[in-house]
């Protein structure tokens, strides 16, 4: 098992369905060897909507290519702080048949991203719903790690970064995806997610209904505090 991060190679593998745009692959290859965080800097905020959409395509492809089910896209509009809690004026949840409606999913997320916080359920759904128990088998574990990315967290994670594993910078934390050699049923994934969360001192988003931010969209939390939005993208473990 290789422990080297090889996102560029993974991204260009056949499982993605078609070759990535050259700029994205080059950027990934250029970034992963040494750049700390890709987000917020390598895409032009105004002009590269296609590039951001490509990031979303890569994210969903890594998670689900070769699998079937329903992808859950969750969007929140009007993000604001209600006390310490980030809340939305309204939310919506849509389901897309995967892979048949891949294009619609990516179009919807790209369209929503400038004004909405966009999340996906890392686990495909067996039906059009996100109730507990409705998840389909998954070939990834995930963990939501809030707060400072410490040396301890990094040291704990690096041994798990096998080929195909990746990390998304969510804006205020990191979402860690650990690749499995085969798809496991939701209960097994949940159990391993819990252990991964303990290892990384992660958040509680380990169950089959969890939502994580979609790469290529924006985290608008800091905008709600008067700052700018943060691009959700890749980063090193």
């Amino acid at each position: 098992m290789s422990h080297a991060v090889s996102m560029g190679e993974a991204a260009s593998s056949s499982m993605l369905g078609r070759p990535l745009a050259g700029g994205v692959v080059n950027t990934l290859r250029g970034v992963f060897p040494g750049t700390e965080v890709v987000t917020g800097g390598w895409l032009d905020d105004d002009g590269d909507r296609a590039g951001r959409k490509e990031m979303s395509r890569l994210h969903t492809a890594l998670l689900w290519d070769g699998m079937t089910g329903y992808a859950c896209l969750f969007t929140g509009v009007g993000g604001h702080y209600k006390g310490p809690r980030y809340a939305f004026a309204s939310t919506s949840q849509r389901f897309f048949e995967w892979p048949a409606q891949r294009k619609e999913l990516l179009t919807a997320s790209a369209a929503a991203a400038p004004m909405s916080d966009v999340y996906l359920a890392p686990m495909l759904r067996a039906s059009r719903g996100r109730k507990k128990g409705s998840g389909a088998p998954s070939r990834y574990l995930w963990a939501d790690v809030d707060g400072q990315w410490t040396e301890e967290r990094s040291e704990a994670l690096v041994p798990l970064m096998a080929e195909g594993s990746f990390v998304v910078s969510s804006g205020s934390g990191r979402h860690v995806y650990v690749r499995l050699d085969e798809a496991l049923p939701p209960a097994a994934v949940e159990q391993l997610n819990r252990r991964l969360a303990v290892l990384l001192d992660g958040d509680a988003k380990w169950d089959d209904t969890a939502l994580l931010r979609l790469a290529g969209t924006w985290n608008h939390k800091s905008r709600a505090l008067g700052g700018g939005s943060h691009l959700v993208g890749w980063c090193l473990p």
Binding site: K82, E182, V198
Partner: protein
């Protein structure tokens, strides 16, 4: 091009830590629904659900925040959360989620983390052996029957009833008993304070070194983090000077110590969020004085949320010969329903008595004595006598007057 292989479950089993049953948290029967506290705050649950619509995770977090704001400890919060259907439906491990939410909440309320007066940095976290060993069944008073040690209190009264006077008397007693008192007086001037202390018989010879009295203090509002930080800095200095003393903080009056609208529940939630919870974390006994609304019986002036953030709410009323604190709300079962004080004028004192005589008792007793009615006569014939001469009184007042006369005759008229 290497294939993407990934980890097998066996490999991960060796790499990932086992999840402990309680994840390092105190054992609180994590998977079994526990009985909620007897006074399960259904209103909190309903409020959390209403505020957050159908979003179960937000309902859950709002409930945890509301419980903390209401003063429940972690164990009680977990018990409440385990009886909160949206939480149980949403999370496979609601106990873990409750603790996680508590952690998030505390992280978000970071500014209250200022070195406290009685708990050093090493006491920032709960000392579990001490925590479990502490006997919580017994009453624990700073001022017996009135101020519970380490708790928040609201005392409200109508205009000029005497709440500031009574509390000043109480804190002088507390100082004499060894407490350190930090009194934030937003209403009186120096001359007023001098007159009151002089009336109580205190003077230059009195040791008030532990009474830190701030007249018209220039603190930032206590419903904002800056105000809390400034107050905690003062407390820290006092604690450093008197490290082994219990601390009492008095805020007289709340309406002048906050910047938010007095009618807004947010003002008092913010007060608790920034100041109240920090005082509680520091084991400080705190009291805030409030004005009653136009109808005293309806409670404190302004927001109905005012009583949510304290452990005890007292309504102060004037009764014949003194003052009486009447319990409006309490989280503890050991707080008495009424505490009566007889007021003496020279020197000014509030002497604890078993019960207060209703207003008009003495006057009625004098009227009965003037009519030659024996103190041993029952209240019905006594009331008829009064009515016959055009001085009819309520039955309870006549009964109290007769009792007062009998006890006065025995020298017990004022039961100290």
């Amino acid at each position: 091009m290497p294939a993407v292989s990934g980890w097998s479950i066996e490999q991960l089993d060796a790499l990932l830590p086992q999840v402990p049953a309680t994840n390092g948290r105190p054992p609180v029967a994590p998977q079994e629904p526990t009985e909620p506290p007897e006074n399960l705050p259904l209103s909190l649950v309903e409020r959390a659900n209403e505020e957050c619509g159908a979003n179960r995770s937000e309902q859950h977090f709002a409930l945890v925040a509301a419980c903390v704001d209401a003063g429940y400890d972690d164990e009680a919060v977990v018990a409440i959360v385990l009886n909160h259907k949206p939480t149980v439906d949403k999370y496979a491990d609601p106990v873990a989620e409750a603790y996680r939410s508590l952690g998030k909440l505390r992280a978000a309320r970071g500014p209250v983390v200022v070195k406290g007066p009685t708990r050093g940095d090493e006491r920032f976290f709960v000392d579990w052996p001490e925590f479990w060993a502490r006997d919580r069944r017994d009453a624990d008073w700073a001022y017996e029957d009135v101020l519970a040690r380490g708790r928040g209190h609201a005392i409200f009264a109508g205009h000029k009833v005497g709440k500031s006077l009574l509390v000043l008397f109480l804190v002088a007693q507390l100082v004499a008993d060894g407490f350190v008192v930090l009194y934030l007086d937003y209403e009186m001037g120096e001359d007023d304070l001098h007159d009151r202390l002089d009336d109580m018989g205190y003077g230059p010879e009195t040791d008030f070194s532990r009474l830190r009295y701030a007249l018209l203090p220039s603190l930032p509002p206590l419903d904002e983090p800056e105000g809390a930080k400034a107050l905690f800095a003062k407390l820290g200095a006092v604690a450093a000077e008197f490290p082994d003393r219990g601390v009492v903080v008095v805020i007289d009056t709340t309406g002048r110590a906050v910047v938010g609208e007095e009618n807004s529940a947010d003002t008092y939630r913010n007060f608790y969020r920034w100041t109240g919870i920090g005082l509680k974390q520091r084991d400080v006994t705190w009291v805030r004085l409030d004005h009653a609304g136009k109808d005293t019986a309806k409670g404190q002036r302004g927001s109905s949320g005012k009583g949510d953030d304290v452990d005890v709410v007292w309504r102060l009323v004037r009764v014949d010969g003194g003052l009486e604190l009447r319990r409006e709300a309490s989280r503890m079962g050991w707080v008495p329903e009424r505490v009566a004080f007889r007021q003496t004028d020279d020197p000014l004192r509030f002497v604890r008595v078993d019960e207060a005589w209703p207003a008009g008792t003495k006057e009625t007793a004098e009227a009965l004595a003037a009519l030659g009615v024996s103190p041993e006569v029952g209240y019905r014939p006594a009331a008829k006598c009064l009515k016959a001469v055009g001085k009819g009184r309520r039955a309870d007042l006549v009964a109290a007057a007769q009792k007062w006369r009998r006890e006065t005759a025995k020298g017990l008229g004022e039961k100290e």
